[in-house]
């Protein structure tokens, strides 16, 4: 099969856009070269070259989906032939930006667990072809797992984002850490504003932080807008053993998440979402590169109860009852935050004394009681729950993440103790999976639990992994026997 012929002008156009940046730099640097005609000639010339190259690329690119592999032959200068086993494909994603949507073409990306980047991407095929590949790969994969469930099941919608949820997402999507930073900074600066605005130089020194605040505010708005456009029209459906999602306002994404390959589930709720009773759900598979988003959002934002229900339909974990770390962990955070607060007070005081600026340094003293509150809040939101098939770990105040890890997906378990943890008899348990290290870029862990308990849990998790592997194995054996028996029943026994 070939790519869509329209991919030739689209790809050539993309390379012109890429060149545009270079042109801007060159022309700004040397106006003598430029003029509108100069730019025009360069753009047209480059477009022609790119068009010729893309024509060859198109001619030499061929793909073919056979029963069990996707074969891709590509390359203009150096040729590359690939065979990707369909059973190894983790995700099949389709994305279309505005231009591609207007032309009716789509980019399709295949992810496998190996390697550090997307395994293969077809740029571009027609939308129908992309949909066909997506469902066909899904069908073949099911066929590879078990022949009897290969009949396609109708799509069942699990979730569609409502307008209210989308607006909330835009608000909640604002990074709260920025806001907390601003609220701490403002009262310290404001008293000096009134006195010193007369002197223009000092005025600048004062307005600069204010400008920074404005920048932060704009950044927050932008992050809200991004959240809004990227999750516009989000819907999640289930077909056989796959989740299908669609999202995006300007650039439309759709993709599949095979349930068979799910590593961990992460429910995250930030401070605001928690107040309003909302949460989001992310499903992590092993396919994505570390630079990517890491995991696919299964639900961007919905009522917490609904999110938990959906999570439990993917992984059947029990009701969560968290165990908190011992109280001495809280003392640790109190000490840590107090030291930071004391340093901040010291810095404010020094700035007040030794520079021309008058800071209301004593306002920074308010940080000391805040440190204690912070320590308590951090402790309050920590938790772990060891269930029969899952380990559930929770962490974080600003954004609280609850991670569900099936024992079967555990790769290594470790407990670690820093010097400070050893003094208090605490340890952290880290459960490593093949997931792409998550939204928050941290591994599932139980922070600061009792050292002996951590050592016990380390062994418990490792043992339960063994049990889970054995159970899987016997399940699969039984399944295989059953399918062989079924086949034998169908074949009439030869009398001779």
């Amino acid at each position: 099969m070939k790519l869509d012929p329209l991919s030739i002008p689209v790809r050539a156009g993309e390379s012109v856009v890429r060149l545009a940046w270079l042109l801007v730099f060159v022309l700004v640097g040397s106006p003598a070269l430029g003029g509108a005609s100069g730019i025009g000639v360069a753009v047209v010339g480059w477009f022609v070259i790119a068009l010729a190259y893309q024509l060859i690329y198109y001619q030499r690119f061929e793909y073919d989906l056979s029963e069990d592999t996707l074969d891709i032959a590509s390359g203009v200068v150096s040729r590359r032939n690939r065979e990707i086993p369909v059973g190894r494909v983790q995700n099949v994603d389709i994305s279309r930006n505005v231009v591609q949507r207007a032309l009716g073409v789509a980019q399709i990306n295949l992810e496998t667990a190996g390697g550090s980047s997307t395994e293969a991407s077809l740029r571009y095929v027609s939308l129908e072809e992309a949909k066909r590949l997506q469902s066909e790969i899904g069908r073949l994969k099911r066929g590879a797992v078990s022949a009897r469930t290969a009949d396609p099941e109708p799509e069942r919608e699990l979730f569609a984002v409502t307008r209210k949820e989308l607006v909330l997402l835009g608000i909640i999507g604002i990074d709260l850490r920025l806001l907390s930073f601003v609220t701490v900074l403002l009262p310290v600066i404001s008293p000096s504003l009134r006195e010193r605005f007369a002197d223009p130089l000092v005025g600048l020194a004062v307005t600069a932080p204010l400008a920074a605040v404005a920048v932060v505010g704009v950044a927050a708005l932008i992050s809200g807008a991004i959240a809004l456009t990227s999750y516009y029209g989000f819907r999640l459906a289930r077909r056989n053993d796959e989740l299908l999602y669609e999202r995006g306002l300007l650039q439309r994404f759709s993709g599949t998440i095979p349930l068979e390959k799910v590593q961990t589930l992460t429910i995250s709720e930030n401070f605001l979402a928690r107040r309003l009773g909302y949460a989001s759900l992310a499903v992590e598979t092993a396919g994505y590169a570390p630079s990517d988003e890491g995991s696919e959002s299964a639900i961007p934002l919905a009522d917490r109860g609904r999110v938990v229900d959906l999570a439990r339909s993917i992984e059947a974990f029990d009701g969560i009852e968290f165990e908190r770390p011992p109280k001495r962990a809280r003392e640790r955070y109190a000490v840590r935050y107090s030291v930071v607060a004391a340093l901040a007070v010291g810095a404010a005081f020094a700035a007040d004394r030794y520079t021309g600026l008058t800071f209301a340094w004593y306002v920074a003293l308010a940080l000391l009681p805040l440190a204690l509150v912070g320590a308590h809040l951090k402790w309050l939101h920590l938790g772990y729950d060891i269930q029969s098939d899952y380990v559930v770990l929770r962490e974080g105040f600003w954004t609280r993440t609850t991670t569900v890890v099936p024992y079967y997906r555990v790769q290594t378990v470790l407990d670690s103790q820093t010097v400070f943890q050893r003094r208090r008899g605490l340890a952290s348990l880290v459960v490593d999976t093949a997931g792409s290290s998550g939204l928050t870029n941290r591994q599932p862990r139980a922070l600061d639990i009792d050292a002996e308990r951590a050592a016990d849990l380390r062994e418990t998790v490792a043992d339960r992994l063994q049990t889970a592997v054995q159970r899987r194995r016997s399940d699969r054996r039984r399944e295989r026997l059953r399918s062989i028996e079924a086949e034998l029943d169908e074949v009439p026994i030869d009398p001779a």
């Binding site: 092993a286 079967y408 790769q411 997931g435 591994q443 992994l465």
Partner: protein, 197 residues
């Protein structure tokens, strides 16, 4: 059940005896598929070779030297102090390096257990790792330049986990490293895990 070329040489269906292109170097009389018992492969906690302390001392001395040179350059420009500060920095860093190397050796321990490899290590942050054999992807042995001088090798165990080659055992003699690699390979085969990704 053995269907390899190596075992068929004697009863060749051809008139003359054929020689397979690929032969196993090891003793061909041993049946290929026998993986030794799990009990025979596992053992008590093991420590590293004492020579590893030398490797660590030299490695820390190199970083101490770099640090010392940087300090010397900085302080020869800045007015209080002179190039001698670099010497002090080097001495302190190297001293710390030696102490840490000795402590690190004392703490380092690994054990080939029934169904997992267990490691304990770390001076400031003590880490206990359990790497189940069902999750082993492959096992490497590697030897860096300093390690080669001391006649040592490192065995690295890879899992599909996000921590990559987090499970590595330094300070083994090449024989021990090879032995450990073979053991782990057999244990991983015996565990017949799948990659779970």
């Amino acid at each position: 059940m053995d269907d390899t070329d190596g075992d068929r040489t004697g009863r060749s269906p051809f008139g003359e005896e054929t020689t397979p292109a690929i032969r196993r170097i090891e003793d061909a009389s041993a049946p290929e598929s026998t993986v030794p018992d799990v009990e025979a492969l596992t053992g008590d906690p093991q420590t590293l070779e004492p020579a590893i302390q030398g490797v660590w001392v030299i490695q820390s001395a190199i970083s101490a030297a770099v640090l010392g040179i940087i300090a010397a350059v900085i302080f020869s420009v800045v007015s209080p102090g002179g190039a001698w500060v670099g010497g002090v920095v080097f001495a302190v860093a190297a001293g710390l390096g030696i102490v840490f190397s000795l402590l690190k050796y004392r703490i380092w321990m690994y054990q080939v257990r029934d169904d997992s490899l267990y490691l304990r290590r770390g001076v400031l942050t003590r880490v206990n790792t359990v790497a189940p054999y069902v999750r082993i992807q492959h096992v490497d042995t590697r030897r860096g330049p300093v390690e080669r001088v001391f006649g040592l090798a490192t065995t690295v165990v890879y899992t599909a986990g996000s921590r990559g080659a987090d499970v590595s055992i330094p300070g083994l003699t090449p024989e021990r490293a090879d032995d450990l690699q073979t053991r782990l390979k057999h244990l991983a085969i015996a565990a017949e895990g799948d990659d779970a990704v």
